[in-house]
């Protein structure tokens, strides 16, 4: 790739995290910034930030400003928009936020617990049918949600549980990918000798799992939690099918219905936009905070040796 001389200002900057110290101005062979690749990557970053930057600006616009002023020109109506949004149908928006947090938070906690137990059993024990169980559960990754969603709804209706919070929570607890990750992390993080030592000391299997295995699997468990939290937070199809009462909607279904009503009453558009901003803020904050002590790489099952 083309290499151009870095501008002096770029050289004065300390080396970016992850580069070998001294690469910026190391005396023997100064490594220069590769401008074109840096620009391409920055362009990619810009593209990904564009809609987020827009919603940040657009949420400050009043209804008339939204359709009349330039897209990235801030408006004057942010507090008004938030007040209107909170007042809309007695604050149903905040109910959606609370529901999303409940579904994603509780769902991810339960999912992590189930994945940790199953992954630990599949990694640390030898027993009949182990590989069969593992492969059957893993095949669940391939099952399209559509083939599950309709019968899940009908079965929930049969059990008298359609349109309840449980009908959205329960089907998402088992995550085949979570079990798969759980097995990988358990295998990589827990030395078999430690388990044996625990048994020698007379500890029961449950105690060994809780006291020895879980702490060692912790970084992996955080990953499973985050993965499931995002998956449930982002889910639309299942709650869209299961729920009819809008006080039980998660954020995704709630904003969708608000947008659908907006096609008749464009005044709702400013509410949708403000709602979208407030809905993405918690997850962005979560990732910004968590990336300090948690690595994105863990998400793809990478395990440091």
């Amino acid at each position: 790739m083309t290499t151009l001389a870095a501008p002096p200002s770029a050289r004065k900057r300390p080396p970016a995290a992850g580069t070998t110290p001294g690469t910026a101005q190391g005396p023997p062979r100064p490594r220069r910034t590769a401008l074109l690749p840096t620009a391409v990557l920055a362009l990619g970053a810009l593209y990904c930030l564009l809609p987020v930057a827009w919603v940040l600006v657009a949420s400050t616009k009043s209804g008339t400003e939204l359709f009349s002023t330039f897209s990235f020109l801030p408006g004057t109506g942010f507090t008004g928009n938030v007040t209107d949004l909170s007042a809309h149908r007695d604050g149903v928006y905040w109910q959606w936020m609370a529901n999303s947090l409940l579904y994603a938070g509780l769902g991810a906690v339960l999912s992590t617990a189930v994945s940790a137990c199953a992954g630990y059993a599949l990694a640390m024990y030898r027993f009949r049918g182990r590989e069969t169980v593992f492969h059957v559960i893993l095949a669940g990754v391939l099952v399209p949600p559509v083939i599950l969603a309709i019968p899940q709804y009908l079965l929930m209706a049969e059990a008298g549980m359609a349109d309840t919070r449980l009908s959205v929570l329960l089907p998402l607890i088992l995550s085949p990918y979570g079990v798969y990750l759980g097995r990988i992390y358990a295998r990589a993080a827990i030395p078999a000798e430690l388990i044996e030592a625990g048994r020698m000391d007379g500890a029961g299997e449950g105690r060994i799992f809780l006291r020895i295995a879980v702490p060692m699997m912790a970084p992996g468990l955080v990953t499973i939690f985050l993965f499931q939290f995002v998956a449930i937070w982002n889910n639309f199809l299942l709650p869209y099918i299961m729920l009819g009462d809008d006080t039980k909607f998660p954020m995704t279904v709630g904003l969708f219905t608000l947008l659908a009503q907006g096609s008749n009453t464009p005044a709702l558009y400013t509410l949708v936009i403000t709602g979208a901003l407030l809905a993405i803020a918690p997850l962005i904050a979560l990732f910004l905070v968590i990336q300090r002590f948690w690595s994105l790489d863990l998400l793809s099952g990478a395990v440091k040796s």
Partner: protein, 313 residues
């Protein structure tokens, strides 16, 4: 469970050890049976049934569920609207998958390159859309496509050019594809980047000593070595793309260009919950799942045989 543990401790035998894995697996297995196996079986059963209406369909017993054999499947396979939906989604997928994975690979290679600046910032920024639900992504882009709101239309208007309708006809495909690319590139980039970083340094050192340029190293060494993760991301991207639902559904209120049956999955939803024909919808869902399996595994096999050939050469 506690009794098992106590027993094991008392006797010091392997009884607890033998029973424990089944205990640990029980929650996963029960949930799998209830929310995967049972619904799949029920969908298959429903797809083979139909409602028979006698007389005017009024009164008790006028609507009866009876065996339909493969009737629902014949109807699904000969449904013209479903065929159109399948073609639309294949066209959409033909844009999304190569562009998304191409960008993911490019960004991953750039992140792995030593002399590129601001890498951690770019990595986080490109990953960011992963945390944004598809519905909200479609909603944000949907507004950016609306002529009265869009910065693109604003710029074109200033230049005295007519703005294209981004929410209808051919451009609609690109608009929808853009939402998927925007949302999916970051996650795939991380998967590929992780696999790049696990390549031992000695592999590059040899190439560097031979005087290979960074571009040559990327093409000849790095890409072949991350081929397995490329195949994996490709496989999951195809599956996800064929099931597109939330994004076109979200754009629907903003345009007449998206019909209620735009994607096959939208047709399934429409059949089941708008037309109330769960039997036809189940058959379509089963066909859709089967087609997804065949297509994704077919492509996977093709990709694997290519990779295998590359290795033997």
């Amino acid at each position: 469970m506690t009794t098992n543990h106590r027993a094991a401790r008392r006797r010091g035998t392997a009884y607890g050890v033998k029973a424990a894995p089944y205990g640990f697996l029980a929650p996963a297995v029960v949930l799998f049976a209830l929310f995967f196996a049972l619904p799949i079986g029920y969908a298959l059963w429903l797809s083979l049934r139909k409602i028979e209406i006698s007389g005017l369909g009024l009164g008790k017993g006028a609507r009866q569920e009876v065996w339909a054999g493969l009737e629902n499947y014949t109807a699904t396979l000969t449904d013209a609207e479903l065929g159109h939906g399948a073609l639309r989604v294949l066209g959409y997928g033909a844009i999304v998958v190569p562009v998304m994975l191409g960008l993911a690979l490019l960004f991953a290679l750039l992140l792995d390159s030593e002399r590129v600046r601001a890498r951690s910032f770019s990595r986080l920024a490109i990953f960011l859309p992963y945390a944004i639900p598809g519905v909200i992504a479609a909603l944000l882009w949907g507004f950016l496509y609306l002529p009265d709101v869009s910065p693109f239309h604003y710029a074109l208007d200033r230049l005295g050019l007519p703005g294209p309708d981004l929410l209808d006809g051919g451009p609609l495909f690109l608009s929808l594809a853009n939402i998927a690319v925007w949302g999916g590139t970051g996650f795939n980039m991380i998967v590929i980047y992780t696999s790049l970083r696990s390549i031992p340094a000695e592999v590059y050192e040899a190439a560097k000593l031979d005087g290979a340029s960074p571009l040559q190293i990327a093409l000849r060494v790095k890409i072949p070595m991350v081929a397995p993760s490329l195949v994996l991301t490709f496989f999951f991207s195809v599956i996800a793309t064929l099931q597109v639902f939330s994004e076109p559904t979200t754009l629907k209120p903003l345009t007449n260009g998206v019909s209620t049956t735009w994607s096959p999955l939208m047709k399934v939803y429409n059949d089941a919950f708008v037309n109330g024909n769960i039997h036809a919808a189940s058959a379509t869902a089963v066909v859709l799942a089967a087609a997804t399996f065949v297509l994704s595994f077919g492509l996977l096999r093709l990709a694997n045989s290519r990779t295998a050939q590359g290795e033997t050469r």
